[in-house]
């Protein structure tokens, strides 16, 4: 397999960033990591994952959709879409890589969302295999192997070298663009690292979490469960879980009056928010219980029902770490699976 010494990783980043914008997860002062535009000398984070997920690259928190100019009774619609530049996201974990497949099902099915597609077409995703999963990880529940991540190209580290392999043409083009920095390498040590990681994966506290009790055909049983009241009773109704989630994709579209015209924008919405799905006639999910239920039913029942059984969660564990009251999809699944 092709490899580069970890010491020379900076050279690889420099080479990539000369041709395209490159984003890598890097550490902040507070020890947490976030994706940042690469600048020479920036170090790749050793953290397992970023606080915000990689979905931001394809589905940003806010974006402008169109402008309107009004003169008298005339309204002019201005298309502000621009072709995205090519960019590379490096170091995406297997969970986040799978989230793109889920988001694709939402945004690339007819009618195709041209804003999302534009960025998706121009983005190259280079993933990084996990070697030190956290106790909050449960990607295995959704059939994800963090030692064999998806993405256009995938990378593995054995502690000394970074190995890289293409998963498709886009990934191959990425590898070709830095071929002069790569050499053939022996994967014996890497195979050991992978085996060790797999052993840990089997020991994770959530290794046996199962989706058996969920799916499209379990709708009424779960919808009417008495357990939602208790599960949602201390929910603060904040948007933390939905905003750090790599698969949450609800958005709102609104108009902003600049004084010189209208900017139509969309922004992330959260089913936890009090005005979520507030329509002209009122609110169709009036209570926090109904809104809380929406989030988990969407991931565990509605989404698989509409997408050939695929669940709307990748087990990244961000909501487990970040919910202010530590209520999360794992606790919901464990409560609901008990009849």
């Amino acid at each position: 397999m092709l490899k580069i010494s970890l010491e020379n990783l900076g050279k690889l980043f420099d080479a990539v960033s000369e041709k395209q914008t490159l984003y890598i997860p890097t550490d902040r002062e507070d020890g947490a990591s976030e994706y940042k535009k690469y600048e020479s000398g920036m170090k790749l984070s050793k953290n397992l994952n970023t606080i915000r997920s990689a979905k931001d690259f394809f589905f940003p928190q806010t974006e402008n959709l169109a402008d309107f100019k009004m003169e008298g009774k005339k309204i002019e619609v201005i298309d502000i879409r621009e072709e995205s530049e090519d960019f590379v996201i490096f170091g995406v974990r297997a969970c986040d890589a799978r989230s793109f497949t889920i988001l694709d099902k939402v945004f690339l099915s007819e009618p195709v969302d041209s804003y999302y597609k534009n960025r998706r077409d121009h983005g190259t995703v280079v993933t990084m295999a996990c070697t030190k999963p956290a106790e909050t990880c449960f990607c295995g529940t959704f059939g994800i192997d963090p030692t064999a991540p998806e993405g256009d190209a995938a990378c593995w580290s054995d502690g000394e070298n970074l190995f890289i392999q293409a998963n498709n043409e886009k990934g191959q083009a990425f590898i070709d663009s830095v071929a002069s920095l790569l050499e053939d390498g022996d994967t014996a040590k890497l195979d050991e690292v992978k085996a060790k990681t797999k052993e840990i994966l089997g020991k994770l506290p959530l290794a046996n979490l199962s989706t058996d009790a969920f799916g499209g055909d379990t709708l009424m049983e779960h919808f009417n469960s008495e357990k939602w009241a208790e599960l949602s009773e201390s929910c603060l109704g904040c948007g933390t879980c939905t905003f750090v989630c790599p698969t949450c994709q609800c958005y709102d579209i609104r108009d902003f009056d600049t004084g010189h015209g209208i900017k139509r924008f969309r922004c992330w919405d959260s089913c936890m928010y009090s005005e979520f799905t507030k329509m002209a006639h009122g609110n169709i999910r009036n209570s926090q219980l109904e809104r809380f239920r929406q989030r988990f039913m969407h991931k565990l029942v509605y989404f698989p029902s509409n997408n050939n059984g695929e669940f709307g969660c990748v087990g990244c564990g961000r909501c487990l770490s970040k919910c202010p009251i530590s209520m999360n999809i794992v606790k919901v699944m464990k409560a609901l699976e008990v009849k």
Partner: protein, 323 residues
């Protein structure tokens, strides 16, 4: 302590003093507790927990809970009692429907701080004197307890319960804390340095509203920023300064009412030290109007709600001739 609390809760449920208990429920791991309401001895036996990670302040839940039928038992740490007192003062809770059992706290831990030291795969956390023993999937780790202490507890302002119906253990005293040290540091910066500090911190905001929603001083039924009819609904920031303004406005809104419980910073997913904004207001109020601790009592007039002729800005009103 947990045992004493469990038997107290069961006793008060059994003798009919209360019909519900608000406390904390254990989770999947050693640290992921959830505030919860217990209605029976069985529920308490199964899940009730009070340990190093029960940092969550349950006072705000009492706004809703105290309006329900029957009395609720609330276990409150010293800092939590200031929040309840402030809510009582503002007529946001029905204090008669709450039976407060004051419980001591020797400081709560912040799992994020442990994780930020690179510790992962955590399967157990045990406090052994001043040392923390952490078991992980990758072996044992130790660290000083102080390194893992929640920020709000590191600068604890009081071990005293300012309201209770009953106490478990001895009551403590108000502490001469160092909580204004960082505020002073910020005050001593140049305005550009201070601006850069806050821009750096507040620009991390993802507008999840966790700080607002957890805040015991933020009890508006519908926040103006959530209300589509308010004209200032703010689901998305129009520019990069708007989320900065949101926090500044919120700090103004709770000025003089914030008890410095520290929940805003504890819940922030981006680790923004939001409490520093509130502490600046507290410090200024102390120096302009005399020492004042919101929530210390339920009867005194709040400095920002009162007018006296020796007010620091009395002349404004004098000149208008309102007196």
């Amino acid at each position: 302590m947990q045992e004493a609390m469990i038997s107290k809760a069961k006793q008060l449920l059994a003798d009919g003093t209360v019909n519900r208990v608000i406390g904390w429920k254990k989770g999947e791991f050693a640290y992921d507790i959830t505030p919860a309401i217990f209605e029976s001895a069985e529920e308490i036996d199964a899940d009730f927990v009070y340990d190093d990670f029960t940092a969550a302040n349950v006072s705000k839940y009492l706004v809703k809970e105290s309006k329900k039928e029957g009395k609720i038992l609330a276990f409150l740490k010293p800092c939590d009692t200031y929040s309840l007192n402030q809510l009582t003062k503002e007529h946001r809770v029905n204090r008669e429907n709450i039976y407060v059992v004051g419980i001591p706290s020797d400081g709560k831990l912040d799992i994020e701080k442990i994780k930020s030291k690179g510790v992962t795969g955590i399967t157990g956390v045990e406090r052994d004197g001043d040392t923390l023993k952490i078991t992980t999937l990758y072996g044992e780790e130790t660290m000083p307890v102080a390194d893992a202490m929640s920020n709000k507890c590191l600068s604890c302002k009081s071990k005293k319960h300012v309201t209770y119906d009953e106490l478990i253990g001895e009551d403590g005293d108000v502490i001469d804390s160092d909580r204004f040290d960082m505020v002073e540091k910020l005050e001593n910066m140049t305005s550009q340095e201070r601006y850069d500090f806050w821009r750096g911190e507040l620009s991390k905001c993802i507008r999840c509203n966790a700080c607002r929603n957890v805040c015991p001083a933020c009890t508006c039924e519908t926040c103006v920023f959530d209300n589509p009819n308010s004209g200032v609904q703010n689901k998305a920031a129009a520019d990069s300064f708007e989320e900065n303004m949101f926090h500044i406005i919120r700090a103004f809104h709770v000025a003089g009412r914030c008890t410095d419980c520290g929940e805003c910073s504890r819940v922030c997913p981006q680790n923004i030290p939001l409490h520093l904004l509130n502490r600046k207001f507290i410090k200024d109020i102390n120096s302009l109007y005399g020492e004042y601790q919101a929530g210390a009592d339920t009867t005194s007039k709040a400095p920002l709600n009162e007018y006296t002729t020796d007010d620091c800005e009395a002349s404004i009103v004098h000149e208008r001739g309102v007196e």
